[in-house]
């Protein structure tokens, strides 16, 4: 009986113009979206490669120089794009892509794409994630809003009852009929994306298991939506009403809840402004050692300690250049200050995340959105991960330069220069995005929330809907 209901519903869907038209529109949109994203992905990665090589050449060829001057000259870390950004662009447009790595300061990633576009960028882009997250749920509503109401409206309900079909089989048949077209479109999209990505040269970290996980996330999301639509259709008196309620649910879940969450999150757990942040950092920095200020209190203290430790009575008798040593100690203090302040930001963001997760009760869209971008490595978490990696590299680079200065020059000799080819000893910055397992373990709550939606909506559907 399941298969009969299924084939009847499928035939009906195929016969109706709206289904074919909507399906064709969605597929066309998807094709355009994939094409645009693929081009962008290749473009950005090519630029990234050039920029990285040129910057490295700048660093390598800076000539004989004092290591600390080189530290001030600094270098840049560029954030690459990851293969699955082809499917979900996430917050990539809003995060900076290059970080200036210099002495004494941890800089924010600069130059987000959105800041370099017109105000229209804020309306959203025609990308696959837009279609996956907004349009396909809408498609589900359009295909399924009258699944049950039509039986009542056309008077076929009485006939059905005489067939002795169980409610469970009846619902299941209809569920499958709705799920199959959605599954097929999404499956084809993911398959194409997988094939495109595995055939691109230098596709780096792409692996099929992440793609499959992402596919599963969307399947769960769509199943939840189908359950909701069927539930509404079963409870509503008329098709028109079912459609309006379905749309309201869509609006609340996909448009209103995320925006509300944003306002609550920022009002309750605000970020400091960029200037406030910089000032707070500056104040803390001044409380400690400054490598450029040997007359400061902390510097004098350090000097006494070092002299006592080595049992000598002047700095020039030390086995290393104290200028380099104090520079490194100052650097360590500053790194700690940054660590503290960035941790505060992370705590604020952690609290904001809880607001988003609380509102996920209202909207299965939210956990899906977060899971999807995490898997695509285009979420805020990956951005933090990249930032932290760049900072770790910066600290290591400063240590290397300061130590070289301390070990090879005499105290007070600021004119001393490192060899022109010394700079090549700095290893280049390599970044690996989080692995699938670590992404999933960081997103347990989102998995649980989405799973909760699935179980609850299935339960509601099968327990409360009866043929009557």
């Amino acid at each position: 009986m399941i298969s009969k209901t299924f084939s009847k519903e499928t035939k009906e869907l195929l016969r109706e113009g709206r289904v074919l038209i909507s399906l064709i529109i969605v597929i066309l949109l998807l094709a355009v979206a994939v094409f645009i994203s693929a081009r962008q992905y290749q473009n950005i990665n090519e630029q990234y490669k050039v920029a990285q090589q040129t910057e490295r050449a700048n660093w390598d060829n800076q000539g004989a120089k004092n290591p600390h001057s080189a530290a001030h000259y600094g270098t840049y870390a560029f954030k690459p794009k990851y293969p699955l950004s082809l499917l979900d662009q996430g917050v990539d447009k809003y995060t900076g892509t290059s970080i200036f790595l210099e002495a004494h300061a941890r800089n924010e990633a600069q130059f987000s794409a959105a800041a370099d576009q017109t105000g229209l960028a804020r309306f959203g882009d025609l990308t696959p994630d837009f279609i996956l997250l907004f349009i396909i749920p809408l498609l589900i509503i359009l295909l399924g809003f009258n699944t049950f109401t039509k039986e009542r409206e056309m008077g076929t309900l009485t006939l059905l009852k005489s067939q002795g079909i169980s409610s469970f089989r009846w619902i299941w048949g209809k569920w499958l009929a709705l799920f199959t077209p959605i599954f097929s479109i999404t499956f084809v999209l993911f398959l194409i994306a997988g094939l495109v990505l595995s055939n691109l040269k230098d596709f780096g970290v792409f692996n099929w298991s992440t793609l499959v996980t992402m596919f599963l996330v969307y399947m769960v999301f769509y199943a939840v939506f189908i359950n909701m639509v069927l539930l509404i259709s079963a409870k509503a008196k008329k098709s028109g009403i079912a459609l309006v309620i379905g749309l309201s649910v869509w609006i609340i879940a996909c448009l209103v809840a995320p925006k509300m969450a944003t306002n609550f999150a920022q009002a309750r757990h605000p970020y400091p402004t960029a200037q406030e942040f910089a000032e707070a950092v500056q104040m803390d920095k001044e409380k400690g050692l400054d490598g450029h200020n040997p007359w400061g209190e902390e510097a004098q203290q350090l000097e006494r300690e070092v002299l006592a430790e080595y049992g000598v009575d002047s700095l020039s008798q030390l086995p290393f250049n104290f200028d380099g040593y104090i520079m490194q100690k100052g650097e360590e203090h500053q790194a700690e200050v940054y660590f503290k302040h960035y941790n505060h930001l992370k705590t604020q963001y952690g609290k904001q995340t809880q607001v988003y997760q609380t509102l996920a009760v209202m909207s299965p869209f939210l956990p899906t959105r977060f899971l999807s971008m995490s898997l695509a490595n285009t979420d805020y978490g990956t951005h933090w991960h990249f930032n932290d990696a760049a900072e770790k590299y910066r600290i290591a680079a400063q240590k290397l330069l300061n130590d070289h200065f301390a070990e090879n020059s005499e105290y007070g000799d600021w004119d001393w220069k490192a060899d022109a080819n010394y700079w090549q000893e700095l290893p280049s910055f390599e970044y690996e995005p989080p692995s699938l397992s670590s992404t999933l373990s960081k997103n347990t709550s989102n998995v649980v929330l989405l799973g909760g939606w699935l179980v609850l909506s299935f339960g509601m559907l099968f327990l409360t809907v009866k043929i009557k």
Binding site: L29, Q47, A51, T54, E55, N58, N61, Q62, G63, Y73, V91, K93, Y94, T95, G96, T97, S98, E108, Q110, F111, S112, A114, A115, D116, Q117, T118, G119, L120, F123, G124, D125, L126, F130, F134, L138, L142, F145, S239, G240, L243, V244, L247, S248, I251, V256, K259, T262, Q266, A267, P270, Y271, P272, T273, A274, Q275, E279, L345, Y349, Q352, H383
Partner: protein, 476 residues
């Protein structure tokens, strides 16, 4: 007939609780959105005030220090931070270049969550390609804010669709259309009157609820009558467009469900698709130079200049003998080379930066050229302009800050080269920043949306004439 229609419609709207539900919804949505907007504006102004207060405190300390140094008293800070050195003033005592919120800033968040509202240009730290973005969680930028503009541009059309998609089809489906057909009124006039009355009631509700919300939240609409009327007329023009669309679809399409789907499809087209397509085409046709490659260029120039800085300084002084004449000490230190290096790098990078700005301007022109394709874009931009939070506003602010930073730097150049000592008398001559907001009008936007509404209405009439009356009256 109009009188009957008016009475009947009012009764129906009250009985079906349309008016009640609509008022409650509008009150709730407008209220929440306005509250959010006000909260953001408050945050923004508070940050600016704090910064200005701090700067004032800092200035007081500077005056004290100058006083003590003048009287040759001992001060607690090392000599390289003494404010008698003009470079210390240029770096450690910057002015706050702020962009205060305009009166109607709460209407639209616009770009205000992305860009900063105050900068403190210094001589030393201000980068060649200074970033003006704000420290906001990108998740917030992605989701956007629940502001009045969102309610108006996204949600209001959906409310209109929900209450007007079946004006004609419901009559047909319930069988009362045939009765109506016997009345001495043309169908399109009847639909027009019905929708017109709904538009009238919606307008009344929008005006009343907005007034109530504004009064309740302490925004005096009467003091800003012109701006308030502007906001109302923009909202109503946009609503009119959606009613015109409902008119067209009601006459053209047919069954309730199909009507709803068509209207919804149009909503997606106008609110979601057209904006993103215009934007994407704009950025494809006029791509912005890669920032990463721009960094490369800046770094290359920087490296070249630093290698030859001594030579550059010599040339510079030869070209500017006035700097050597007034200075008897002829001391040359780090700042002398620094200033000249900065100047050269800036000049060499200028074409790259100009190219960037030009491409952005071309994108903006492209958008302006095609935005009439979607009334949602027109309305959103008009609301942003009203709020002073549009891209153009932030671009204007950015240019003013860049000019100011230039002025600030140049103010110290003669002092540095003449090795002048900074004194208390010089304080009042320091450059001062005052933001000059753009004076935008939205009459263009208003007429665009009204024109589009008229166009859609005429299309509706045409659709009706093509379809014979019998087909419309036919019940299934």
């Amino acid at each position: 007939m109009f009188k009957y229609n008016f009475k009947y419609e009012l009764k129906q709207l009250l009985r079906s609780r349309w008016i009640q539900l609509m008022s409650a919804l509008l009150l709730l949505l407008f209220g929440f959105a306005t509250y959010n907007g006000l909260q953001k504006v408050e945050e923004r102004n508070a940050a600016i005030t704090t910064a200005q207060d701090k700067a004032r405190e800092n200035d007081k300390i500077m005056v004290k220090l100058l006083d003590s140094l003048d009287r040759e008293l001992e001060v607690s800070i090392p000599s390289w931070r003494h404010p008698t050195n003009p470079m210390v003033i240029g770096n450690s005592y910057p002015r706050v270049a702020a962009m205060p919120a305009e009166t109607f800033a709460f209407v639209a968040t616009g770009q205000s969550d992305m860009f900063t509202h105050y900068k403190k240009p210094e001589v030393y730290g201000f980068s060649f390609i200074e970033d003006f973005t704000e420290m906001t969680s990108p998740v917030q930028l992605l989701f956007g804010s629940f502001d009045l503009a969102f309610v108006i541009v996204y949600l209001l059309p959906l409310l209109i669709i929900a209450f007007s998609y079946n004006v004609l089809s419901a009559e047909r489906e319930s069988g009362s259309l045939r009765l109506l057909g016997a009345q001495p009124i043309r169908i399109e006039t009847w639909v027009l009157q019905k929708l017109g009355l709904r538009f009238l009631w919606l307008s009344v509700l929008v005006i009343l609820t907005l007034l109530m919300v504004f009064l309740a939240l302490g925004i005096p609409p009467l003091n800003k009558m012109k701006a308030f009327l502007g906001l109302i007329s923009m909202v109503l023009a946009y609503a009119l467009f959606w009613f015109a669309l409902a008119f067209l679809i009601n006459l053209w399409v047919g069954r309730s469900a199909k009507n709803a789907m068509s209207l919804l499809g149009l909503w997606i087209v106008f609110v979601l698709l057209v904006p993103s397509v215009i934007n994407q085409m704009g950025s494809t046709l006029y791509p912005l130079p890669s920032r990463a490659l721009m960094i490369n260029e800046m770094r290359g120039t920087q490296a070249d200049v630093l290698k030859n800085v001594d030579e550059i300084l010599d040339n510079f002084l030869r070209d500017h003998p006035e700097y050597a004449v007034n200075d008897t000490t002829l001391q040359r230190n780090y700042w002398h080379s620094f200033m000249v290096a900065q100047k050269v790098i800036r000049e060499e990078l200028q074409p790259v930066l100009d190219n960037h700005d030009q491409q952005l301007r071309k994108q903006q022109d492209w958008v302006t050229q095609f935005k009439w394709l979607s009334p949602a874009v027109v309305t959103q931009e008009a609301l942003n302009q009203m709020a002073g939070t549009s891209s153009q506003d932030y671009e204007n602010y950015r240019q003013q800050v860049l000019d100011f930073s230039h002025e600030w730097r140049n103010h110290f150049v003669p002092m540095v080269y003449n090795n002048t000592v900074f004194s208390k008398e010089d304080i009042e001559n320091l450059p001062h920043f005052e933001y000059q907001p753009l004076k935008g009008t939205f009459t263009g936007a208003l007429f665009t949306v009204l024109g589009l509404s008229l166009f859609v209405y005429l299309a509706g009439i045409l659709a009706y004439q093509k379809k014979s009356r019998d087909i419309i009256l036919k019940t299934e």
